[in-house]
């Protein structure tokens, strides 16, 4: 029983790069002048076309899709894939360069919470102000006023100017208003990024309620693959302004993550003279081999990872050689540092291997560094951040999609037992 509620046909959006809108009156006059008198003739037509192409960007190119009533559609894509542009067009903030979108029913967009809040006004005044900016009628707000206040949990501060609110209270009030919008189509952008864990849970719960119980259509953009997987029944994958895929969330998200995870998993050098290293050590090969658990080929928190490396060992004296492997987050925090037993090796190729078990690391982006150590004390070569990779989250049976806290994510459980009386 799906009824089409929104249809986008061949939407394209074109931006001029660099100097958008910063041209002064003088420059505009000059360009009109040049056009009129064909002053640019010393450039060939091709060169002119090239010049023009350098400064243009198709933020969206021929994107078409249909959305049915009751769908919860997730938009995924890297930064700059065109998600925000698409949302802006859907919310009528900017116009497409070509193509059209047709729809049925009221559409409300939540590209930000608290749009138009006035710092000097009280919470009460701002509920009406923000609600009306978002397209609610005064009567509607009055009917839902108590609900909004209860949802936000700021009863005591209702008559305090919002400039005295803590940022948490501010966001809670703003979201409470947005959550009671009640349009046929709701557009939500990254709202999950704000607020504390408990509040995120409340927001996602509300979104689920809106779609599942009230049969509303939700269009949702988030980087949080977990949230998308659990909330959306459909997903749209954008890349570089083009539609890469549309379909069931599971498949689309899997594809998207696979696309995302093409990082530096391997390094190979054939010529010792060109390889990184020094007189003692030359790197030959370096590889991260994930032991995928299913066909999806995504590294998630369950996936065991094997690091394999080979190096040309060219010692000038006999030493005890040890190698230590450090795993850091992209922010530079060290998660662990493991080493080998230090002992003497002969000149030639030496192989190394280290297995990082699954169910150990939390999701996030990591780098691996290798340190070659002489006599367990002095580093003779440091190969820093030589591999980088992402670990995706994986959860089953949870209603909570926020970031899981902690540097590591070991899988031992808390045991509960019913005490017999």
């Amino acid at each position: 029983m799906s009824n089409i509620i929104l249809k986008a046909e061949n939407i394209s959006k074109y931006y001029k790069l660099g100097v958008i809108g910063t041209r002064s009156f003088k420059e505009d006059i000059q360009s009109v002048w040049k056009k009129a008198f064909k002053i640019n003739n010393n450039l060939s037509a091709d060169e002119q076309a090239n010049e023009a192409h350098k400064n243009e960007l198709w933020a969206l190119k021929d994107v078409s899709f249909e959305i049915f009533k009751g769908d919860v559609v997730g938009f995924v894509g890297k930064n700059g894939a065109g998600k925000s542009t698409l949302l802006k067009i859907l919310s009528r903030i900017t116009l497409p360069t070509s193509g059209s979108i047709k729809g049925i029913g009221r559409i409300a967009s939540l590209l930000e919470v608290g749009t138009g809040f006035h710092a000097e006004l009280t919470g009460r005044e701002n509920i009406f102000l923000n609600g009306q900016i978002l397209g609610m009628h005064k009567k509607e707000i009055m009917n839902k006023f108590d609900e909004i206040v209860a949802f936000s949990g700021i009863e005591r501060f209702l008559d305090t100017p919002v400039k005295r609110y803590s940022s948490g209270m501010y966001v809670r009030l703003a979201f409470a208003i947005a959550a009671h919008l009640d349009p046929e189509i709701l557009i939500v952008d990254e709202v999950l990024a704000v607020g504390d864990a408990e509040f995120q849970k409340k927001c996602l719960g509300k979104m689920k309620e809106v779609s599942a119980e009230q049969g509303k259509t939700v269009l949702f953009v988030s980087h949080n693959a977990q949230a998308l997987k659990n909330l959306c029944n459909k997903a749209i994958h954008l890349e570089k302004g083009r539609l890469l895929g549309i379909g069931r969330t599971q498949e689309i998200i899997t594809n998207y993550l696979k696309n995302e995870q093409i990082h530096e998993l391997q390094k190979k050098y054939n010529d010792p003279d060109q390889a990184p290293g020094n007189d003692n050590i030359r790197i030959k090969k370096l590889e991260l081999i994930p032991q995928y658990l299913d066909q999806n080929k995504i590294i998630d928190i369950r996936t065991p990872l094997v690091v394999e490396f080979e190096f040309w060992y060219l010692p000038s004296e006999i030493i005890d050689l040890g190698v230590s492997l450090t795993l850091n987050t992209v922010l530079g925090d060290c998660i662990f540092d493991v080493d080998s037993v230090a002992k003497p090796y002969k000149k030639g190729v030496v192989k190394g291997r280290c297995k990082i078990p699954g169910n150990l690391l939390n999701n996030g982006s990591y780098t691996i560094s290798l340190f070659f150590v002489k006599n367990t004390s002095a580093a003779i070569f440091e190969f820093e951040e030589c591999l980088s990779f992402d670990i995706e989250d994986f959860r089953e049976n949870t209603a909570w999609y926020g970031d899981w806290p902690g540097a590591i994510r070991p899988q031992f459980k808390v045991q509960l037992e019913q005490e017999e009386e």
């Binding site: 809108g21 910063t22 919310s91 116009l95 497409p96 059209s100 005064k138």
Partner: protein, 288 residues
Amino acid sequence: MNNENIKNDTINWQWEISPAKSWFKLGLKELFNYRGLILRFVRRDLIANYQQTVIGPIWIFLQPLLTTLIYLVVFGNFANVSTDRVPKILFYLSGTIIWTFFFDNISGTMYTFITNAHIFNKVYFPRLVVPVSNIITQSVRLAIQMVLFIIIFLFYFFAYDMFQLSFKMLLIPFLVILTAGFALGSGLLIAVFTARYRDIDTFFQYILRLGMFITPVVFPSSIVPQKFQLLFWLNPLTPIIETFRSIFFNQNAIRYDFLLIAVAETIILLIAGLILFKRREVEVMDII
């Protein structure tokens, strides 16, 4: 996906977003649907303006009074500029409240895109809501200032037995609408241009400041040299302020001919402004 064979022609689409926009769609009906938001903005501006001030809304009275006082000293006493035999305080007060009304309307309108970019970038509503609500806010302030003017007028009326009351006072709402229309029309045009060319904004600010001296705010139009009279009267604010003074003080006959020209000028500006603004309101957001 689903095999219901939906034919697009059979669907009753309620709205459509597409790049092409008709030149002659002013969206006034849509604007009317947003009257709730317009009034909300008026309320916001009136309340927020006087939050955390000592004397609050009394400023609405005090601003024109203080300005009048300065004009009284500088132009009335030092420079001794004629006021066409009208009591100085009433002469300057009438000029200054109409000029301020015009000035606040036009400067509120011309910065529509720049001051509201953060909202316009996140939510859609007809952009005209903002300048229209500004005009209503300013009209409320004008109404309050008119009360002050009328109190002082009545003082002269009773204490000195000056002036007569006449049916021509019914023209006042018309003068207010004309001023607002002139400010809105030219403000909308400037708004579209300033969003694109920031340097034009400085230019218009300058023109606006000078505008007070090609408008009979601190002097009567009678002292303008004969050869500039026609040019001077083509400024719509000249017949507006002169008519306003004639209604109350009867110092000169009302120039209906120039009032009519002012109406024509305002209508042309207003239509041009509305069309251009409506046409560009969304595109402007890409370049601001």
